[in-house]
Amino acid sequence: MAYKTIVEDNIDVLVAGAGLGGCGAAFEARFWGQDKKIVIAEKANIDRSGAVAQGLYAINCYMGTRWNENNPEDHVEYARIDLMGLVREDLLFDMARHVDSTVHQFEEWGLPLMKNPDNGQFMREGRWQIMIHGESYKPIVAEAAKKSADKVFNRICVTHLLMDEAKENRVAGAVGFNVRTGDFHVFKSKAVICGAGGASNIFRPRSTGEGAGRVWYAPWSSGSAYGLMIEAGAKMTQMENRIVLARFKDGYGPVGAYFLHLKTYTQNGFGEEYESKWFPELQKMVGKEYLDPELSHRTHRPIPTCLRNHALISEVNAGRGPIHMVTMEAFQDPHLEEVGWENFLGMTIGQAVLWAATDVDPKNENPELTTSEPYVMGSHATGSGAWCSGPEDVSPDEYFWGYNRMMTIEGLFGAGDAVGGTPHAFSSGSFTEGRLSAKAACKYIDDGKAEGIKVSEKQINGFKEAVFKPLEHYKMYRNEIVAGDVNPHYINPRQGLDRLQKLMDEYCGGATVNYMTNGKLLNIGLKKLKLLEEDLEKLGASDVHELLRAWELKHRHRTAECVTQHTLFRKETRWPGYYYRGDAMKLDDENWHCLTVSRRDPETGEYTMEKAPVYHLVGKDD
């Protein structure tokens, strides 16, 4: 093999993936570990990587505690009802009590946060959201991470976590390859903070052909957070809790500012309000405790996002589509019109391109909305991810094993999409989680928990062989055919991705089957995933760039398998509007008011599923 092996040794804290979570980790680690060696490995360039690469127009998680706006427990309550009761309330409380300090630091660093001229406070978009001019959000945050890190390795696709051979179930670093030079990189580290991303593109997207890149979550979010952690044997939670987004059609432009700030609203193709008429039937499925429109009307209590999706999907299926966002009223106000456009230019430019291309001016016509294909992630309005310890002063015993945000593998920490059970963290919460995990990782090292780590050449060489196998495989069989991509010995990464998306869509509740699945379908899906896994051993990559796509596909496949296992395990329909179990169409609190936890045995590939208790935050006298 011609590619060099480059070893970075004696790292204390390795940050694998530096989006908002990873940048928060690298930044904060320097404060708690002033003499520690802090290294970042990032698949792209940290100035524009992760979900915020394009920019953001809002920070969706800010308490405003200093203005007496909200307390952390208010946010916990909000996330709880939005996710139909099932979240990690200890982790959420912990994130929420620190997130304001993160946001105020961003302001000090130069991020333009809009101000309310009446009181000088941050301009509220909604109860939790504040508005920003965030075109340079990621470069600003990356600057902070770069100032703290000893070294930043851009363009490294991290493929595997290294495991300690002296002590079982302890992390020892990570390996990957440079997507430009092809060099193999070994990072030997005492602690690893996984800041890698959630998964777009595991379900067949609604777009076809060229538009397949216009997914809601970034196409480079390859489920690597999950691929890395599951493969190493970390326990995962709530992986069935995929998210479906109601967004502007085709461009997937965001609707938050439209609903909350512009006060636009939806109606069906005949100009009628449609949501409320689906609620009585829906209430029978999920119970009045989760859907109480009257109570929601009177109080701050939101109607869960999935249930609003359900109404949209049902209305379209009843033949009364398309659903429109009524923008024509709001857009007559020049200020609101400006906000509406800048909202897209700040974070989903493609939607502006689409409206320009189709002559849609929301001042003159109401644009269409649709529901997206499902996504698997843990930082937006859903909470898939690893099963992590909470903080010592908050967490119940079952949720605490020594270090905040440490997973069930010793020395492996996480932030953002990697951490399970913490929805509604968004950008600011993910950065905050990175800070929390960095403090804990430094303490883990200072407590002597990372002494005596041993990594053999055998382990490293095994990974090296596996990493480059798609290139070797291609070389071996390429010349058996004249030209083209059809070869009996290999499939290329795009062909494998197409197969993954089709089977996840059809068997695991994708968009083309209206998010419906059942036990029978899921079992077939698992068989097909197994066959795909065998073929992924025969992936062919013609160059280093295709090798990147090959490893992204492997991470996506592992994510998809775990999602399917979890979906099969939970025999109820907890989140109608995100997915439906046709063989168990009701929410079932008696049996399923629990968090699902899985572990894949790295030796056998078998999954073990268990239920973990849900602890709710209540008043001390309740």
């Binding site: 001019h133 397949a212 890149g213 970034a218 480079w220 800048e342 002559d359």
Partner: protein, 159 residues
């Protein structure tokens, strides 16, 4: 909305290759200029468009749903701290927008934590993060706890 590169403007400097989050801007070996090698993995995030010193990169909306004849152009000026947009509709309508991208000279106010005083043992033993408790609360002190907020955890079903 995949990107494309104008042949006569690109000088092959590679800024787009350096910044693209999806690793799809590459240099063509024959023409020594950049191009998008994988349009269906392009998010239309405009990172490359903003980074191009020659304004050689543009976006043509995704062919499967966007008709031809539009443009969304951008100029990002880090020194000025602004970004300007010009949207041109298929029917010729134009709209322009201007936003700030930073309020401070680039990077000046981001601290280098190696140079600040390290945490005391007391701080290490607390729940505080760097620079806290500043900003956590308006007036009264420390980080929120279950006790300070009058809370406890309860197993079971709570709505």
């Amino acid at each position: 909305m995949p990107t494309f590169v104008y042949m006569t403007r690109c000088d092959g400097c590679g800024h787009c290759v350096d910044i693209c989050p999806s690793d799809i801007m590459h240099i063509d070996k024959t023409y020594r200029r950049a191009y998008n090698i994988e349009p269906n993995m392009c998010w239309e995030c405009y990172s490359c468009v903003k980074a191009c010193p020659q304004n050689a990169i543009d976006v043509r909306g995704y062919a499967d749903f966007a008709p031809l004849g539009h443009s969304v152009r951008v100029l990002r000026e880090e020194e000025k701290g602004t970004i300007s947009w010009k949207i041109k509709f298929r029917d010729g309508t134009e709209k322009s927008f201007l936003s700030p991208i930073t309020t401070k000279p680039w990077g000046r106010d981001i601290p280098k934590l190696k140079d600040v005083d390290g945490p005391s043992q007391e701080m290490r033993d607390s729940q505080l993060l760097y620079n806290e408790p500043k900003y956590i609360r308006f007036d009264d002190g420390g980080v929120h706890t279950l006790e300070s907020n009058g809370l406890k955890f309860k197993q079971g079903v709570v709505y």
